[in-house]
């Protein structure tokens, strides 16, 4: 009897705690979403009238479509480049040993721990010093400095778990290096590569501190949100914020579904 009572109490506490944590994490995002569908210019409780006007205005804004294009372009290029660099780096870390490997590993991963505004400022000073004009390309470079180490870590986890005997077996069975790569190595490392790509895209898409210093005249979504919060607030700010969050969540969902489908195809789901 006592035991059941205690069990019930524990369960109630767990439920309360879970609700609290979920509310803590998601309430700001929900407020943002509510604000975007409120007719009023400023977000206030209770919401008097709901409307999708701001969604329509945001979707039709030329300015916003331009900065979404910039953000997408930067995120896309960063995803491709960082994944290629990280894939090669992860393979080099996991497969080969050379003198100074551990030191090199630490130096490569160090930018992850740099405060991003400091890194952004350093890159800005450097670009100025060597006479490079700031644009989306410089932002790509800045993002790569911070994101590539993260993607390397993500892919390296998969590479460390990969059994190199499988490549030996494929070679022994007559496969060429290219056949080994696309029939054995890549399919088995693909979940790690895919996760790395998603990380790269989302980290670049939502990056503000590095973009603030390095995009120049090419505005991005996070930078625009910040500038409009500082001066010239419009309900398009929470609307674009909500769109951006939903887009990222959608991408995560597609990513997770893709991994699930891959595993199912391989019969491992």
């Amino acid at each position: 009897m006592e035991y059941t009572k205690q069990g019930r109490r524990n369960r109630t506490l767990i439920i309360i705690w879970t609700i609290f944590v979920i509310a803590f994490i998601y309430l700001p995002v929900i407020c943002d979403a509510l604000s975007s569908i409120s007719k009023g210019r400023y977000f206030m409780f209770p919401i008097k009238k709901f409307s999708l006007d701001w969604w329509s205005k945001t979707a039709n804004s030329i300015e916003i479509s331009s900065l979404v294009s910039n953000s997408l372009l930067i995120a896309f290029v960063v995803t491709i480049l960082s994944t290629v660099i990280a894939f090669c780096g992860a393979l080099a870390f996991a497969r080969f040993s050379w003198k100074g490997k551990k030191l090199f590993q630490k130096i490569i991963l160090l930018p992850v721990f740099f405060p991003q505004p400091v890194l952004g400022l350093a890159l800005l000073l450097w670009f100025n010093a060597i006479g490079i004009n700031l644009s989306w390309q410089t932002a790509v470079f800045a993002h790569l400095v911070w994101i590539t180490p993260v993607v390397t870590l993500v892919i390296a986890i998969q590479v460390y778990g990969f059994d190199p005997t499988l490549e030996d077996a494929a070679r022994d069975l007559g496969a060429t290096p290219f056949q080994i790569f696309y029939r054995i190595t890549l399919p088995l490392l693909w979940p790690g590569v895919w996760s790395g790509m998603l990380f790269a895209f989302l980290l670049s898409w939502g990056n503000f501190p590095l973009s603030l210093y390095t995009t120049g005249v090419d505005n991005t979504v996070p930078k625009w949100l910040y500038s409009k919060m500082v001066a010239g607030y419009t309900p398009m700010v929470p609307t674009l914020g909500t769109m951006s969050t939903l887009g990222a969540a959608g991408l995560m969902l597609v990513g997770a579904l893709t991994v699930y489908m891959m595993h199912r195809r391989q019969g491992r789901a």
């Binding site: 070679r171 022994d172 056949q179 399919p187 391989q266």
Partner: protein
């Protein structure tokens, strides 16, 4: 046969007649960081035979297998296929295929895709690949519907069969086995050993197998090579190696033995430090003045009144173990421990603690110098 880059060496191997030397290892050495791992190994493997290299961990079995497969190269010496040196050829240009210790099945592929892999990478037509894969499934006693089964959902024994079928699909003349049964439970291992032996006969391929299990080597092989610390100590049929080991190491490795150091006494006859004051009859004498005699537990006899044996010693029975149809005794003669094995019918059930006489004939003991 699959048209492949190893066509030249495969043709060389195919031209050799069964029973003729196929692979010849000539003074093969392999050093790792100045440590000699393989020392002057000379070995001939004949076509169509089931040859097993047996030895304890670290004896260099896998290194030799890797050199045969082309995954490693000798530091010196040569590996010759027929009359063609293959020491420097990569794996895909040799008529060999390896079944790895942990099988190395591709986990993202089905059973059928695993078996088809060597055919697909050589560009064989899809329908031919499927037909051959299904024939191989049948050959290794796997049901036809396993073709689409995920290989990771197969049991240990089934995976083993898939790995062998994949190696057979490559259609190489020689199949190398790197202790593939080591991770399988004893009962299934026995079944797979029988199947492997049977498969060897039906496939007509040359099998080179490595294992640390003496029992496995004796059970399956036509000939066995015993390796110790990178040296090939003895090569022969399982019976030869069991009956005529060339050294203490081989004798000890191939089952229970009693070993006594022995030397010619200045006064004549052979004496052993294990049995002071006693003289033994030893065969053959030769010119060696000292060595060891090796007596298998089953070569020892219980000496009763009227039993005629060349050598007799007195021992105390310390322990008695039942082996089913036979019984094993742990005996003590002074400080020397001796193992005796007798048929159940000859056994006195209450012999522990008693003093008994045992003996052996000179021709039942083996004299070795090292």
């Amino acid at each position: 046969m699959i048209s492949s880059k190893n066509e030249v060496t495969q043709n060389v191997a195919e031209e050799i007649k069964p029973g003729q030397p196929l692979l010849d290892l000539v003074n093969v050495c392999r050093d790792f960081d100045k440590v000699k791992v393989i020392k002057n190994v000379n070995l001939v493997v004949k076509k169509n035979e089931f040859f097993t290299l047996v030895g304890p961990s670290g004896s260099g079995k896998t290194t030799i297998l890797k050199m045969l497969a082309g995954m490693d190269q000798p530091t010196s010496g040569d590996i010759v296929l027929g009359s063609k040196s293959i020491s420097t050829l990569p794996p895909d240009k040799r008529p060999t295929c390896m079944v790895f210790q942990f099988l190395a099945l591709f986990p993202h592929m089905t059973v059928g895709q695993n078996i088809e892999f060597p055919m697909r990478v050589k560009g064989m037509r899809a329908e031919d690949c499927i037909a051959k894969a299904q024939k191989l499934l049948d050959l290794v006693h796997l049901p036809e519907d396993y073709y689409n089964k995920n290989v990771m959902k197969c049991s240990g024994g089934e995976r083993q069969r898939v790995a062998i079928a994949r190696a057979l699909a490559y259609d190489s003349e020689i199949i190398l086995f790197d202790e593939p049964l080591s991770a399988i439970d004893a009962k299934l291992r026995k079944t797979l050993q029988k199947e492997l032996k049977d498969l060897h006969r039906r496939s007509g391929k040359t099998f080179i197998y490595i294992t640390h299990s003496l029992e496995e080597a004796m059970f399956m092989s036509d000939r066995v090579g015993v390796l110790c610390k990178g040296e090939l100590k003895q090569v022969g049929t399982p019976e030869e190696i069991y009956a005529h080991p060339v050294s203490r190491f081989v004798a000890e490795f191939i089952g229970d033995v009693n070993i006594f150091p022995i030397r010619v006494k200045p006064t004549g006859g052979w004496g052993s430090t294990d049995f002071p004051g006693q003289l033994f009859k030893v065969e053959p004498h030769g010119d060696d003045l000292e060595g060891y005699i090796i007596v298998r537990p089953e070569a020892l006899k219980l000496v009763k009144e009227g039993t005629q044996v060349d050598n007799v010693i007195e021992c105390k029975v310390l322990n008695q173990f039942s082996l089913g149809s036979r019984s094993q005794f742990q005996l003590a003669c002074g400080k020397k421990e001796i193992t005796l094995e007798l048929p159940r019918s000859e056994v006195d059930l209450n012999s522990v603690g008693k003093t008994i006489k045992i003996g052996w004939n000179a021709h039942d003991a083996i004299f070795v110098t090292e």
